[in-house]
Symmetry: C2
Amino acid sequence: MTRLAPGSTLGILGGGQLGRMLSQAANRLGFDVVILDPEENSPAGRVSRGQIVAPYDDPNALDVMGKVCDAVTFEFENVPAASVDRIRAGGARVAPGPMALAVAQDRLEEKTFLNGVGATTVAFHAVATLEDLHRGLEKLGTPSLLKTRREGYDGKGQVWIKAAKGATAAWDALGGRPCILEARAPFLRELSIIAARGRDGAVAVYPLGENRHAGGVLRTTLAPAVVDARIDKAARRIAKAVLNGLEYVGVVGIELFDLGEGRLLVNEIAPRVHNTGHWTQDGCACDQFEQHVRAVMGWPLGPTAAHASVEMTNLLGDEVDRWAALSGKSDVRIHLYGKAPARPGRKMGHVNRVRPLQH
Amino acid sequence: MTRLAPGSTLGILGGGQLGRMLSQAANRLGFDVVILDPEENSPAGRVSRGQIVAPYDDPNALDVMGKVCDAVTFEFENVPAASVDRIRAGGARVAPGPMALAVAQDRLEEKTFLNGVGATTVAFHAVATLEDLHRGLEKLGTPSLLKTRREGYDGKGQVWIKAAKGATAAWDALGGRPCILEARAPFLRELSIIAARGRDGAVAVYPLGENRHAGGVLRTTLAPAVVDARIDKAARRIAKAVLNGLEYVGVVGIELFDLGEGRLLVNEIAPRVHNTGHWTQDGCACDQFEQHVRAVMGWPLGPTAAHASVEMTNLLGDEVDRWAALSGKSDVRIHLYGKAPARPGRKMGHVNRVRPLQH
């Protein structure tokens, strides 16, 4: 439980925008940051004390991270478990813990865990063979969604099956890998909740965000979302169950389906700071990045109340070229990631449009 | 007037806490930052893309800064004019301009300039010799304050003369250097105003702060200060006169004496972000650091309204050891500078205590 003192070093696996914003938050609290990322001059490396340029399973790099850093965290969920073990052996505390990674890396484990802690999901069926898939389609009906159990994000590694006769094509499209078949949720809207658990077991939950996606990629988050008390209570209960169930330390992002009439399903969890939590940078005194750093370094959690209403919009690909027009809007806060080139669909930055909170 | 695009490089002369917080703001807007500072691993260098370790008058270092950077600014006012010229010759724009530096580096020039633009100061007398000092004491009476014309900050390089017989001792204490003698201002309190001017000539002014010093060093700033409309108007007029008079680009800090009944005197100006503006980090959507970066990079200025009431307190020397207790206070935002060791009086960090704005 020891609180790591300012001057301690935080290691981050992954040098993208999430690592960058984590690093900036850690620096504000007086910590030094070291990034591990295979690409030189990563967005996070450019704002940190140092970067180790190596693959995420490079034993020497992991040994250095374990020795140089007092604590280590990550900006993506597909960190190899062996890497985490090796870092921990070097002496650094790693957060979130191995349980969170194991659950988040496998969609079947994830849904099983979620339902086990009372966080309901859509109905699902494990698919190891084409036969399993046929049985799943009989059980869940169509349309239903076939996803690889591992990897895939932003809509990749998944395919909708509209009728039973499409089973073979879908199975082949995903390479015959172990999959999970998910029933379609008749949801009204997508919400998400950002929450944190400290080393002392305390839980802090931010107001809900309402999300709009396009092409499987997040476009906007509106927060605090307009929700009735039942939804708010249900979401908080889910966040608490997930965090405690995983003995979690740090920030988690939980995507939810709002079915109406106060009913929520959990879509998925991300064991890290989350794109749908970027609104907290300009809507809360302690944003999700500082909150995560606080938890990982053993500090008490910060406040989660919103002081403003925020509409967060991702800048994808050449949308970042709108910076000049955006820079003149007084209600818009700009957050850019220092990335180049602006490949189509690449997350280059985001803007938070800030409005007074409606009481 | 060109707006420098994200991906451009900002150079900062000086790697202390002001350079550090400027760098963090620049990074948020997608700029890379290079620091010039004679000390390795400076607070700012540790959160920036790179640091050149060299004296501020090293010709090679200045040439590199001029070539690598698209724009260059500084975190302290005693930058040699020749250094600025050399950087500019390399191709980088430098802001604020030479007029601001010339005025800020010499207290006699500063007071002369201020009164010239209608920003009243205490009465003063130029002191080049001990005879000048005696004449000044006759004119201004005692007690009065003898200051070196150049250098000195946080109460250094100045001595109070309580009676005419103390003239020689004061003159010797300051080493017989060119000085300025200042009359005592019968002020009720110290205020300061943080303001900015863009490359397009636009001026933006933050709400006033009320400052408390101890031993010549700033302890706390309370902002927005409680002031009547006359004071507010007078301060805004002063800020505008100073910024336009200097054809300034960037953020300026202006220290004021409140004489009561709506009357203000200017104590001094700092051509840079200012300790009394740190409250803006947690009280405004666009803080003084982003504001300065916006101006220097040719971007439109950001909004200056306060969304919270903030009490900023400096953490001096071993006061930084209070971090553990402070980390548990939910209304306190911590800003640490990554400095060691915590020498007595050294500015190690600050905290902003945030309260709802009183309307």
